[in-house]
């Protein structure tokens, strides 16, 4: 078991981006019952909504400019309020970054589930993004190490010797092998000029 299902929703803030409508009251009521503070906005989310824990947004009349962030870049879980199931509206709702959905008319049903599903999807997306960024960094670090090793090989060392020099350099500088490789490659490029450097890299 990872996250508990009775997780800290108490005291969380949810903004509802929807034109004033009786069925919004049902949503507000249910959010209150669950323990959240609900705040309404229309036609735009104010800047302070960036600090919200959840956003509920109208998929029927919504558009990009209502949000103080770019589509798909919300800093919190977003829940689309869907009335029309026309493909164009659904596409917009998804591009905006729906982590969960509620069908209109909103009632006492599905709100708790939507909160939990949205948060779970949001967390998973965040974790995936972080993992991808980390893998990209490591991938580019590997390329740098190969470049540094190649520099020594070009100077007549064997590959094993080149790795050993890199390791010892890193130890002497008290940095990671990746950082040492980065510095060596940068120094080399500065000495030789970028054109030469590139030629060596390609060799």
């Amino acid at each position: 078991m990872t996250r508990i299902r009775t997780e800290n929703l108490g005291g969380a803030t949810a903004w509802i981006l929807h034109r004033p409508h009786p069925s919004v009251q049902g949503l507000i009521r249910q959010l209150g019952v669950i323990g959240l503070e609900a705040r309404e906005a229309w036609p735009e989310l104010p800047a302070e909504s960036i600090g919200a824990d959840f956003i509920f947004y109208d998929a029927d009349m919504g558009h990009d400019e209502q949000f103080p962030w770019a589509p798909g870049q919300s800093p919190m879980p977003m829940i689309a309020l869907i009335g029309s199931e026309a493909p164009g509206r659904l596409r917009w709702a998804m591009e905006m970054g729906a982590h969960a959905q509620l069908l209109k008319p909103m009632s006492d049903k599905g709100v708790y589930a939507a909160l939990l599903v949205a948060r779970s999807n949001f967390d998973r997306a965040k974790a995936s993004e972080a993992l991808i960024a980390d893998l990209q960094n490591r991938l580019s670090a590997r390329q740098t190490i190969v470049r540094a090793v190649m520099m020594f090989v070009m100077k007549g060392k064997t590959e094993a010797e080149a790795y050993d020099i890199l390791r010892q350099t890193a130890m002497a500088w008290r940095v990671t092998i990746e950082t040492a490789a980065e510095r060596l490659v940068a120094n080399h490029s500065n000495e030789r000029g970028t054109d030469d450097g590139r030629r060596i890299d390609l060799a």
Partner: protein, 358 residues
């Protein structure tokens, strides 16, 4: 002159949890009798009764039948959460209200249900907060294989983990199942400090009987404490002596050795509550529940149920069954219901235990 108002009654008077339903059913009938005899109230109730016989698929059609073929908008009924979930769509469709008078697992706040008994912050959590320091921290969770059993185990697991305890196992039995060899074997092996028994009806009685037999084994002569959030006086007869020593939690226990228990009492009170809400307000029986509550509040009446989430505030009383009577061990004053357990961190009870579990 009293107005006569139809009310629905939807309890299974046969089937595997008939003993529980009987407690609630007789409570409703007693409440109706008292209301009808009370000259200070301008309402009298006429009961429209249906019996789903413990069959889950009968609840929705019979609920619909009451709402369609009679004037009744208020229905007293349902024991299991599964049956409550069955009738809610019918209540929504026909503007009905279910008066639900037994404990449940929370995580619901329908606008069409008056939750008159207790939810986990009023039963399970106070019970565990008492049990863990008193009985020990190694728990065995046992329940009927449906939402009540599952969710009780889930909430218990979180609370026990947060308190540094251990859940040795959680096991589920189909409703009505009395095949318990593997469970007893399990318990012999694991030797838990206590067992949380969320079995319902016949499974529960069979389990208590088998566990009592285990005491003949010198190793288990002292017995393993059994806790329950759903065992009340109305089951003492069905469970027999094997239930002796069981620790239960609830909003009310019989003071004089009665056999109705809180299912009976909360049902009786629910009927009185409806009568008070309708008293002096002709036509109010057709109002949505929250409006009915608000109109009563405006005229100075304090309803038992909170108009925000339609759950009753309840004391949590922990009691042990001794000589066929529940003796109070501990009592917490009336607690506001927290059906989604989101207000836990604000309570003063056991604040240090309320960490998020990863």
């Amino acid at each position: 002159m009293k107005r006569v108002i139809d009310i629905g009654v939807l309890f299974s008077r046969s089937g595997i949890y008939a003993a529980l339903a009987r407690g609630a059913y007789t409570g409703v009938l007693q409440g109706v009798e008292e209301v009808n005899a009370d000259a200070s109230l301008d309402v009298a109730f006429r009961v429209i009764e249906r019996d789903p016989e413990g069959r889950l698929d009968r609840y929705a059609p019979l609920c619909r039948e009451i709402l369609r073929t009679s004037e009744a908008r208020h229905i007293f009924g349902c024991i299991t959460s599964a049956s409550r979930k069955e009738v809610i769509p019918e209540l929504e469709r026909f503007d009905g209200v279910l008066w639900y008078t037994v404990p449940y697992e929370g995580f619901e706040a329908s606008e069409h249900v008056a939750y008159m008994h207790a939810c986990p912050n009023q039963h399970l959590l106070p019970l565990l907060d008492w049990a863990l320091p008193t009985l020990g921290s190694r728990a065995y969770l046992l329940g009927s294989n449906y939402i009540w059993g599952w969710e009780m185990a889930q909430i218990a697991r979180e609370r026990i983990a947060a308190a540094g305890g251990h859940v040795l196992a959680d096991r589920y039995l189909a409703l009505g199942d009395t095949e318990l060899d593997h469970i007893i074997q399990d318990i012999r092996t694991l030797k838990p400090d206590f067992i949380l028994n969320s079995l319902v009806g016949d499974s529960s009685y069979a389990f208590l009987a088998r566990l009592a037999e285990l005491k003949q084994d010198p190793e288990f002569a002292d017995g393993i404490p059994v806790l329950s959030c759903n065992f009340t006086e109305c089951e003492i007869e069905a469970a027999g002596d094997a239930a002796e020593g069981l620790v239960s939690v609830g909003p009310w226990f019989e003071p004089e050795g009665g056999r109705g228990g809180s299912f009976h009492e909360m049902s009786r009170l629910a009927v009185h509550e409806l009568a008070k809400l309708l008293n002096g307000r002709p036509g109010a029986e057709n109002l949505p529940l929250s409006e009915l509550l608000h109109s009563a509040i405006r005229s100075g009446y304090t309803p038992r149920i909170d108009p925000a989430h339609l759950h009753a505030a309840q004391p949590a009383i922990i009691a042990r069954l001794e000589n066929s009577r529940f003796r109070e061990i501990k009592r917490l004053p009336a607690l506001r219901a927290d059906p989604y357990l989101t207000h836990r961190s604000q309570s003063s009870q056991g604040g240090s235990m309320l960490k998020v579990v990863k």
